[in-house]
């Protein structure tokens, strides 16, 4: 049965259900117990599971991330709460050098079944150190899976799958969408990694959006429909593994693609997906593949400037329209 709940409730439910199902699942991070995180996502969990399993840590990310990696190697399934995606920089060694490589370097003898739960997204007026979308950093490291839920339904289904995965998974929630409501079944469900979600079918251009940019792409497809352009909208849901087959199939149909992601454009997710399309669907392309990421500047604190750095439905529609009309996007 479907009902509407918020993105934060969906996350909360996913963790609670998994903690009930499996006693090795623990939750640790800053303000996860008493405060329930600044976004109130985790309220009520400490009451149900106690401070043994819902652990408030000191403000020391490298320390508690290291604890989690060790716990994961020795039989626990920790969920590490990194309050802001920007703090990933503090746990790079524990995550990328230890968690990501232990299974490989132990000859398969050790697993690291941990989840790093964090967030991304600008336009919350949080300035340059609390507004970044850093999923490309971890997607670059072999051994880490990266999930980018775009709706409450995906937030719950992907998080449950992440907790059950025997390898490290980093899941990024869009901090602006915590209060967004969406249909979530009451029955238990999981969302398989590496399965893209086709939101709109179209023939003229494929808009590939991740996380916060999925709704941007949907809104852009509405704008394009007014111009007589039929846009297909696709949400990969996980970028590692990436549902390359679905993306290529769509682009082979439409011959055009715009890839939209809130991470910085340079060397980012958009670049990776665009490159794969150009490489593997080259003879099906009727226009250059367009990347739209966040502007390559530190996210400004000024609201007027901050809003300019993130792709908007208007910008996505303008670029898509331009390639559909065969205009030169760059000088030939």
């Amino acid at each position: 049965m479907d009902r509407e709940i918020t993105h934060s409730q969906a996350v909360n439910e996913a963790i609670a259900e998994e903690m009930r199902r499996d006693s090795t699942v623990i939750l640790l991070g800053e303000d996860v117990a008493e405060a329930g995180t600044p976004f109130k996502v985790l309220s009520g969990l400490v009451e149900e599971f106690g401070t043994e399993r819902v652990i408030d840590t000191p403000i020391a990310e490298p320390g508690f991330m290291g604890i989690a990696v060790g716990a994961a190697m020795t039989g626990m399934r920790p969920i590490v709460d990194i309050m802001f995606g920007d703090f990933l920089f503090l746990i790079m060694d524990q995550l990328c050098n230890q968690a990501a490589k232990t299974h490989y370097m132990s000859g398969g003898k050790l697993n690291v079944p941990l989840v790093v739960r964090t967030n991304l997204g600008a336009t919350r007026r949080s300035a340059a150190q609390h507004s970044q979308s850093l999923h490309a950093l971890v997607a670059h490291i072999p051994g880490l899976k990266v999930a980018l839920p775009a709706t409450p339904y995906e937030a719950k289904g992907l998080l449950k799958t992440a907790i059950r995965d025997d390898n490290p998974v980093v899941i990024f929630e869009d901090k602006l969408s915590y209060q967004m409501k969406g249909n979530v079944p009451e029955e238990e469900y999981l969302i398989e990694f590496g399965q893209a979600n086709l939101l709109r079918e179209g023939n003229d251009v494929t808009l590939i959006g991740t996380s916060s940019m999925v709704q941007t792409c949907v809104a852009a497809s509405d704008l394009l429909a007014e111009e007589g352009i039929s846009a297909e909208v696709m949400d990969p849901r996980t970028i590692v593994p990436l549902d390359e087959r679905a993306i290529l199939e769509s682009v082979r149909k439409t011959s055009r693609a715009v890839v939209v992601d809130e991470g910085h454009q340079n060397y980012g997710i958009t670049a990776e997906i665009a490159a794969r399309i150009s490489e593997k669907a080259f003879y099906h392309l009727d226009a250059p593949v367009i990347r739209l990421g966040a502007m390559d500047v530190p996210v400004p604190f000024s609201p007027a400037l901050e809003d300019l750095t993130v792709p908007t439905p208007e910008l996505v529609a303008e670029k898509a329209l331009s390639i559909c009309r065969g205009e030169l996007v760059h000088d030939a």
Partner: protein
Amino acid sequence: MMHDIIMPALGMTQDSGRIISWKKRVGDDIAIGDILMEVETDKTTMEVEAQHSGFLAKIFSDEGTDVPVGEVIAIISDTETDGEIPESSSPSKPEKEIKSPTSPSVEAPEPEVPSLPKTHIIDKNNTHGKILASPKAKRLARERGFDLGYLVQLGLPQPYHVSDLKEFESRPPAHAPGIEIYVRAEVDGTAFQNFGELINERADLPIKVAMAAFAARSYQEVLGIRDIVVQVDTISETTISYTVPEFASLSKIVQTDEARLPDLIITDLTHLRFSSLKSGPALVPTFTIGVKGDSIEVMLISPQDSLDQLQLVNCMEGFINRLEEPLMYLL
């Protein structure tokens, strides 16, 4: 890319400015910060600097004219335009019209904003002689046997996209006409005339069959190919196609209704009063045969990609030899 230069607002209350002098001429190289012109307002005279680099492509407002603030007075282009800016381009005007006492009261038609379509910014010097097209357009063109050069001939702007391929559907011949080459000859027709009468009497074969056979053999010799289809067009009668196997006797040459493009066409004008005719692009090598007194006039036209010059000459040579000594064919 084009950059509009507008009459700047040099003072808080300024409505217009008078261009005292232009410091640059059309075609001049412009760097950011170069003095473009001197402008006089109601209060002062100032030099105005360029905000873009490039080339001064067009000046709309001459020295001495009073121009409203915001009006486009010139254009700087990124590349040398060689006068490509159409004369019809005129600057966009601000909503306020300054009416001089002598100006007629007739409203001028809305001027078009001087911007070129984005598809025109291809710099031909940068394409290295290649035709620019999207990967899909190129693939489809190759699969369908389209030559993108046809789109260039039509003058369509590059790069080409799949939508441009529709031009191939509306073009008259099956493929773009290429370069045609031809050779013409006049030979004594007596022997062939006698031969025609002979085969007609003895074997009840029309002379057309002999023409088809001779042309086919000459063509087969040059290109070394086997069975070919020759179409004989007599203009007034129905067109007949023959299949000519290699080394066939005349009786082995049979009519065919295979609906394919023939390898050769013979335009037979021997029953008409003129001796050569070309009514469209030659898609395949085409012999035109006419009679002039006692001689036979032969023309062979071919697309250059079917026969090169030497092959054309050899094919013609073989054909006229057979016309002069038709009995040799039977041996």
